[in-house]
Assembly symmetry: C2
Homo-oligomer: 456 residues x 2
């Protein structure tokens, strides 16, 4: 016998997890589509060179790469993708003449990183990315945040906050402090503010250049941190920032851009309470150049951001000389589902069909097949128990899996062309209903159940 | 610059392909769910031992396996899955206590085979599998064919035929010829009848045992081929087979089982014209033991089967001592889409949203954002052009991508709270419609377009 375990760091997804997951993915697809984003798919396997080109992935990600070799192939040539951004960059470089700009694409798929296995960290996980390529438009910036809002709201995610910043504002702060050359190091430290606190960031910023640090004086660090900490809240923080930084053209541009985005978000009916400004939000990745976003579920900030992204100046510079600016975001499906599960916000059903037809011993199952086909035609999913075992056991199967109603046709009902309709939650049973009212009866009972008014 | 090509035998899927593909996958998911099948997902990466266990895959498939290694990992331990059946077997062996039987699962995902690259053959392709595990029921056999029918019909596949057989009948034929011990060899040859013709199969069956053949006499081969060729058609072929084979218990059981399945298919409203019997249909795979199916699109038989499967006695014997009989099928998404494309049955739109809002130079785009949000609320997808370029160019973008309508709000319309509604196909434009009738106007125009009555 071969041990049926999965490899270390990987996992099977069982129906109780998959059912809400599929529902959520479909919600995301419909939301992306409703804004005119189109799906693309790239292979899970890419040429190694494409994935490891300078700047394609961080050193950490490249250390975690999975190499792929087929029999007779040359080792080192192929690997599994570690995100959907590098494949997007390659895709647009290759197909830009065909797809044209603006190109609004979404992609949903597994990515692979050979991280050290740990609780809640898997070596294969799903990313849901959407990007608008080939435009510098503020409208596209705002739309990205609007879609994060629309997708999460449609997926019934509990109250959440989308936090915005614009990199240009922080760039302006660093310019006024004459620290522009150290921007990468400073922003990466600033990103850790929530995690390691003000003292931790100050210590990191002070680390001397010889040790790979930014070598900031305590005063410089304090001014950056003061600015970041004062810059959290509603649109009013932009006024304050303007007062202190308005003479710096980059910062002024960043502030104006953010105001424009807030204007569009209001027009898009994103509730103001769902949007926050955080002028210290840096997003570590070097390639962001304008707006940046993070999204946390209120009260569950410790789970980190469930939807993040930003604007970049040049997506595909590794693969084409054509400059392709864009803006996009990624929703972390697995993290979001883990959060919802821990918050008790996921329904635990393991059934996709609300109705279970009993397979009554001695009754021709073709009757159930015929009645079930009628219900499916009006959009009601039905499962027929495959074997004519004791009906009580069949009802137990239905209760265990979360079917709501059972339709039972015994020999007497078959002769009378009638059925019994049982609620699997309350065990209430309506008896002797005529086949002619099947659709209406089942529809009515499901409506009552959905409204919480169980027949009893 | 790094060359942005994909690795040999792999491909990018562009929006024109992905949009119908996503629609079809969603149709399949909804169909599987409407019969009570639940989704599961297993990792793309499996332990090598699981994939290469005796009988898990054919020698050919095992030669095509992609090995996976992460930095610091041991070579030879991991590989990419080559189908969804072996992972299903491992899954049920591992999780059977949790999921219970009957277990009706579907799974949709990429599988990988390092085949020699050729036109229309890819090293990564998608399988859509559904199986009912843990029951010997004829109802489950029939339901499998019923779902193939429901899924393909819902996906608007042109007229197709589901061909059925039961392995027990062929087993009975071989028993009467005292050839039971050669069943595997004979069935694999018989499977090639359509491809290599009667003479080809006869020659293959005659090949002597020393050369790995079945060593049949011309008379034995003729009797098998006569039986197979006479056994194609409607339910009447079962009567003929019964007359010639009825005394053989295995064949009689197979014939009775098929009749039961036809009875359930009729109850399930599968049109009789969509179902054919072919008593020579063998399906090469050794593990089928009862019903087998294949599905071809009428007139496109040369594409081969687009949905195939059958009943097996024991799914997971490599991984558990528990006997798990079942029945299932796999829809070949990529083959089906290639066929539909060649048959001209795929719409070529590259847009997911029917409405394009112009971004009129000099008009606040927030107006479009607000009106588009209203349309999305009533279920109409909208895209806003991200930049205020010349409106004619924006219309060109909409025409190219297959948007149906454009909403245009210029400075005059903005002042009058009105809009112009242009058909991007006919260029007909209704002018000066009030914002208050936006939803109704757009909805009405889309309905006219869908019904082919274009405003002109």
């Amino acid at each position: 016998m071969i041990d049926p375990r999965v490899a270390s760091g990987l996992r099977d997804l069982l129906p109780a997890v998959m059912i809400p997951r599929e529902r959520m993915l479909q919600t995301f697809r419909e939301t992306f589509s409703s804004f005119g984003f189109v799906p693309i798919e790239t292979p899970h396997i890419e040429r190694m060179e494409v994935l490891t080109g300078k700047g394609a992935g961080s050193d950490e990600v490249l250390r975690q790469i999975f190499e792929v070799t087929n029999k007779g192939g040359t080792p080192g040539e192929l690997a599994l993708r570690f995100d959907l951004t590098v494949p997007l960059a390659r895709f647009v470089a290759k197909h830009m003449d065909e797809v044209g700009v603006p190109f609004k694409r979404y992609a949903i798929g597994s990515v692979f990183r050979g991280e050290r296995p740990a609780k809640g960290r898997f070596r294969e996980f799903v990313q849901c990315d959407f990007d608008t390529i080939g435009t510098d438009s503020r409208l596209a910036d705002a739309e990205t945040a609007q879609i994060i809002h629309a997708a999460l709201a449609a997926a019934d995610v509990p109250p959440f906050t989308i936090t915005l910043n614009n990199r240009k504002i922080l760039d302006g702060v660093l310019e006024t402090l004459e620290l522009s050359g150290k921007s990468g190091l400073v922003l990466r430290s600033l990103d850790k503010l929530a995690k390691i606190g003000r003292d931790g960031v100050t210590a990191e910023l002070a680390r001397p250049a010889e040790e790979g640090g930014a070598g900031l004086s305590p005063d410089q660090a304090a001014r950056i941190l003061d600015f970041a900490e004062a810059g959290r809240g509603g649109p009013a923080v932009l006024d304050a920032a303007e007062a202190s930084l308005g003479s710096n053209p980059r910062a002024a541009q960043g502030i104006a851009d953010l105001r424009q985005v807030l204007h569009f978000l209001e027009a898009g009916e994103v509730p103001p309470g769902r949007v926050a400004i955080d002028l210290g939000l840096a997003r570590g990745l070097d390639y962001y150049t304008g707006i940046v976003f993070e999204t946390t579920v209120d009260g569950w900030e410790r789970f980190g951001s469930i939807a993040s992204g930003g604007r970049y100046d040049d997506l595909a510079s590794l693969y084409t000389s054509r400059r392709l600016p864009g803006v996009g975001a990624s929703i972390g499906l697995d993290r979001l589902l883990a959060l919802l599960e821990e918050a008790g916000a996921l329904k635990a059903a393991t059934s996709t069909a609300p109705v279970l037809f009993a397979n009554f011993p001695g009754v021709d199952p073709a009757i159930a097949v015929r009645l079930a086909a009628r219900l499916r035609k009006v959009g009601i999913g039905c499962e027929i128990y495959p074997e004519p075992i004791q009906v009580g056991k069949q009802m137990g199967y239905g209760s265990k899996h979360g079917h709501k109603l059972a339709v039972i046709v015994g020999p007497d009902e078959a002769a009378a062309e009638s059925f019994n309709l049982r609620s699997l939650e309350t065990r209430h049973e309506d008896k002797g209903l005529a086949w002619s009212v099947l659709e209406d009866s089942v529809h009515g009972a499901l409506e009552l159940l959905d409204n919480g008014r169980l027949p009893s």
